[in-house]
Every structure is written in C-alpha cells, then in structure tokens.
Amino acid sequence: MYQALLTRRYLTSKVMPLLAAIAVALCTAMVLIVWSVMGGFLAMLLAQGSSIIGDVAIAYPVIGFPHYDELIEELVQRPEIEAATPTIESLGLLAVSSDFGDDLEPRVVQVIGIRPDEFDEVTSFRERLWWRPLGASEDETEDWRRKEENQDAMARILEEGSTLSERDPVTGVAEPAMVIGIEVTRNNYRTPEGIYRPASAFTPQDRYTLSVLPLSRRGVAIQIEDRSLPVANEYRSGMYDADSKWVFLPFDMLQDMLKLSEARRVPADFTPGEIFEGPDGPMIKRPEATETVPARATNILIRAAAGFNARETEAAAEEVYERFAQNHQGYPLGPTWKENIVYVWEEKPGLKQFIAAVRKETGLVLVLFVFISFTAVFLVGAIFWSMVSEKTKDIGILRAVGAGRLGVAWLFVRYGLAIGIVGSLAGGALAWVIVSNINPIHEWLGETLGLYIWDPSIYYFTEIPSRVEPMKALIVLGGGVLFSALGALIPAARAASMNPVKALRFE
C-alpha cells in the first residue's frame, strides 16, 4: 500500500525520474517510428503490389507464349482464378517534351501492352488513372481535377485513358493512345499533400514518340519500331518504380510493333536468292511459307478469386500450365518449366530481391534500435541506483515500521514500472504525432534544411507510410515498460538487501 503512495510522491517531487521517463519516452518513440515507417513500407508494398501487377503471373519474357487465349480460357475455368489477361512487356524509349526549350528528352520506359478492360479486371488499372473528374470544389482549386471548368475535360480524359484511345476533336476518329506513369515526363509537380499539378505543359494533350526493339529469338534487335502517339491519361500507383517507368499501350499495337503477332515462317533450309529454271527462263525462287507462327504474349496476369490466396492460385495456374504445355509440345517451354515461369507477384524477378532486402533491412534496423534502446535500461538503472542511495534512510525507516524486503524491492520495481508506463505512453503519443504527420514533417525538413531522407526513387513509394499499428504500439510500449522495470531491478534488489540499522544510521 505504501508503495503506491510513495511512487506517486517520488514521481511528482523529483527531477531525476522525470529525466528517466523522458529517456524511456524517446527510446519508445524512436523504435515505434522506425518500425511503423519501415514495417509500414513493407506492408504497403505487399498490400499494393498485387493490385498493381495482379496476384499471380505466368511470364516468358521476350519470346512469349503462343495460344495465350486458349491458356486463359483454361485458367479462368478454375475456381481459384477470377480473371486473367495477356500482356506484353518490353523495354522502350519515350521522347518527352521537357520544360527547357523545344528539345525532347528520351526516357527509358517499361512498355506494357494491355487489353484495358481485361487488365482492369486483374489489377485496378482504371482506379489508378490520375486525371479524372473529382467534382468541382472551390477551396481545393489547386487540384486540377476539382476545377469547375475542367470537369468535362477530365471525364473525357478518364474515358480515353480507360480505353487507351483518343478521339480526334475535329474528325471524331478514334486512334490508339498511351497511358503513361505520372512521374515519367516530370512535367507534373507533386505537392506536399500528394496532389499532382501540371507544372507548365499538361501532358495528356501531348503526343510523344515511343520506340521499341523487336527481338529475334536469339535476343538480337531486328530493327527499331517507333510510333507517335497521343497521351490519353496518366497513371499513378504510388509506387515510384511504376509511376516513373510504365507506359501502357493497346495490346495488339505493341504485339505488332514487337513482331509478336501471327506470322508465317519460311522453312529453315530455304536459301534466299536461289535461281531456278522456270518455264519462261530463270527465276528467283520465292519462299513458301510452310508454317504459321501464332501470336504471342509475354505475360499472363491472374487475379485470385475471392477466398483463395495467391499461393493457391499459383498452384492452380501451374496445373493448368502443365496441361497446356503438354498439349503444345516443345514450344515454348515444356511442362516441367512451370516452377520457373508461374509465380506469385512477390516473386517477380527484381521485385523479389527488393522485397527480401526490405525485409532484412527492416529487421536489422529494428534490432539495432532495440539494442540502442537498451541503454534506457542502464539509464533507469543508474538513476535508480542513485535514488536508492539518496533514499537509504527512508528504506531504513520503512523496514523499522515493519516493511519487508520484498515490499521495499517492490516499491522500486513499481516505481520503475510507473516511470516506464509514463515514459512509454508519452513516447507512444510522440511517435503517433510524428508518424501521422511524417510527410508534412519530411517536406518541412526538406524545405528548411534541405534534408530529404525519403527518396522515392529508392523507397518505391512517393509517400512515407504514416500509420502506427495498434499491435506494434502495444509491443513497443510494453517493451518500454519492461525495460524500465528491468533497469529498476538491480537497484531494487540493493534496496531490499540493505541492513536496516545501517540504513537508519546512514548520513
């Protein structure tokens, strides 16, 4: 009983415990912020990734699959699979207008040929088109999508983006168009609130030239294909890597550009330029196409049906692929290759290594910070040690009036717990305030001190994760309380083992 009273009095009448509580608060805040941001980043990646690139992919880069429509037909018959769509992925070069002069700047881009409606069923393509009418609003006119006079144009642009076509305003003839990542041109200025505003040029009205390299089966460029295309809309996933690189084209168009559409093949032993004796004299022998090469897609993206996770869907897709490959012996790859070409989205080459690196990094940073926070144990320990020394006489008095050793030890452990609770709660609150406002804070740091810690080109997302998960908060705060109690333990043991007479005679 006296412990509660004394804890309260000691806590409010001394500066030292206040310092200890502040140390605990800073440590818990530090760990919680790091965990929330790094862990939140990973969670964001895992949560958003699949809605950007689908749950499962079947991919055979460059060469691609023939009979993909047949494969898709079989895939969607499985209950695990909700939808599937073919895509073609290739490297490309986009010449964009720059803010400086009339010169065009080339950008290396990832060109993705999609069937927009199907693609939207597998990913959330339409949702991520940036330019769209958001309803007129007077006080948010900084956002172009909310300007009264833009509403009609935005509606049209959204429609054009989701069909990858643009209608000529004069003739009314529709022509194929691109959708490009919102960070591709760098003509959009991102405000601290995360809104994009056209800096000078409004991209969707521009026309850019896209070049791709059709490759032979040996991976050698056959020629350069280029098209000048209008930009229908811009795409924003929030994942910097996609937003700064991706260019969407109509599937058929890219297939054509990359020479992946249906073709006829000449026999391998045909010798060009061979002359033979025709009925009317010598003639050049004409190749006779004996074989039709079917059209190909490089990727098939799959969305899992409700109730099935990506792994189950992957297994289903592997089965379907195995059967499919058996029916089309020898081309492109046999059934045993299923392990390599069917994968859940997290295992997409490049992304997989990145996710693994982030996981490791998060773990490492967390361990490091917890280790640093361990200093709080010693800090609390040191402060309590001196408190016990200072309170030696009190300990003697308590023992004289009948307090037991355990009771005296509990007094100090309890006191440590109280400091831990006060400190952890304060630290949790601090972390919450900082994490919730981390994007404005980061922006402010950048503007006033030139300190940009979060580089979107490294961290994928243009925004820093800003959510404190209750579970994490609970663990960190619990840790803070535990560490404080731990720090109080040795001084408490010392207090308990004090000889009461010596304590009373202590000057």
Partner: protein, 244 residues
C-alpha cells in the same frame, strides 16, 4: 503481570578492520508488561544498539569463544529463531519505534507519515477496507499531540518538537505492545520535552503499553517506573555502584 520481553546476555561487537569495538558485553533486561523503563547511559554506551536489537531490527552477535548465546524472547518466542517475514510482522504489529532523530519521510505529509506503519502492516485490500477507521485514529492521535491543524504539512515545515510528536504518533498507530523510544526529548527544550513525555505516559495509562525509553534526561528518568543504566556493555539497576 508476566514478562513481555526478556533479553539475556546480549553481545554486540563492531569490527572495523582490525579494531574491535565491543559495545554490548552480556547485557540483560526483562520488561514486564505495562511498565515504563528508562535507560540511561553515556553517549556511545550502546543504548541505541540495544534498542535496535530488542525491536528485531538488529541482531546480537552469535555465540563464540568470547561469549555465550544471546537471546531475546518476546512473549516466550525467541526473535533469533524467527524468519525474516516473522520479524517484519513483529516490528509492524507489536513494536513501535521512536527514533533519536525523528526519521520521518520527507515526501509524505504529517498524516501519511503517521499512517505508514498501518500501511506496512496491512495488504492493500485490508488497508483500503480499514482506511477510514485508520485515518480517524491517526487524526485523533495527532490532534491529541496538538497537530490537528498540521495534518497536510510536510515534515520540513514542522519544528523539531512537532516532528518528534509525529514520530510518536507513528509509533503508536498500530497499538504496539512495546514502545521503543530513543531519546524522545533529546533535542527539545524542557517544556516541550515534558509535554511529549506527558503524551507518552498518558498513552501508557490508556493502552497499557510497555515502554523502553532511552534518555539522558533525569526528568524523564524520574517519571519512569524503573531506571537502569547501560554501563560497560551491561545493564545495571539504578543505585548500584559503578563496576570497577
């Protein structure tokens, strides 16, 4: 009236490096229930030491080649055989200490200081249950010592005499059978000292509590039932000539 406490053959020697300071050398004393005994002795003669031993706060030396076994019996139970927890309970329930230098907790108010042994002797539940009663008793005790208006004050805001009275209230809160007071009037002027002694003796006649009062003050000794001297490590009754 049987003996409440019987201390036999107490030895206590402090060692400081090679130097041995023998303080108690076979001191014995018997306290009858309800009697007030005054203990006189020179400074450094071991009065406080003996009081600590009787209160179970300190232990006498173990038997060795120099000395026979020391024992302290309280109501027939030997303190030396009690466990730590039993000793804690003995101090909490049966004994009240008044120290030479008040020894109040500076962070607690007058009332809280007086209640401290009541808290230490009870668990949280029991204390909460009896809280109103105990507070009433503490208030009454402090009022009877003229501190009724000072309940919320801190010890630092009190005079020496007032602090000593708080210490006495604290010693009496659990209605101990044995009060051990170490120079309760030591630092006080004659009038205040007499007042404190009045308060103590009034309490004795009311509760029948046995008192062991260490003092230098002949006036205090006069009012005790019995006076003993602590001299050369042993207890000698008053009037007995000094040992050679």
């Amino acid at each position: 009236m049987g003996a409440l406490l019987e201390a036999n053959n107490l030895y206590k020697t402090y060692r400081m490096g090679k130097v041995r300071v023998p303080v108690l050398r076979g001191a014995s004393i018997t306290l009858e229930a309800g009697e007030v005994v005054a203990v006189l002795g020179k400074s450094g003669s071991g009065k406080s030491t003996m009081m600590h031993i009787l209160g179970g706060l300190d232990t006498p030396d173990k038997a060795s080649s120099d000395n026979a076994a020391s024992t302290v019996m309280f109501e027939g139970n030997e303190l030396g055989r009690m466990s730590g927890a039993e000793l804690d309970r003995y101090r909490a329930r049966r004994v009240g200490f008044v120290f030479q230098f008040y020894h109040l907790l500076p962070e607690l108010t007058v009332l809280e200081n007086a209640l401290l042994p009541a808290m230490a002797a009870r668990g949280r539940v029991k204390y909460t249950h009896e809280r109103t009663e105990l507070r009433a008793r503490a208030t009454e005790l402090l009022s009877s010592f003229g501190l009724g208006e000072r309940l919320k004050h801190r010890p630092a805001e009190l005079s020496g005499g007032e602090r000593q009275r708080v210490a006495i209230a604290r010693a009496l809160i659990n209605r101990p059978d044995l009060l051990l007071a170490d120079e309760p009037t030591g630092n006080l002027d004659e009038v205040t000292g007499a007042g404190i002694l009045d308060a103590l003796l009034a309490h004795r006649s009311e509760a029948g509590c046995t008192m062991f009062i260490v003092t230098h003050d002949p006036k205090v000794a006069q009012r005790a039932d019995r006076v003993v001297h602590l001299r050369d490590g042993v207890v000698v009754p008053e009037g007995q000539p000094e040992a050679v």
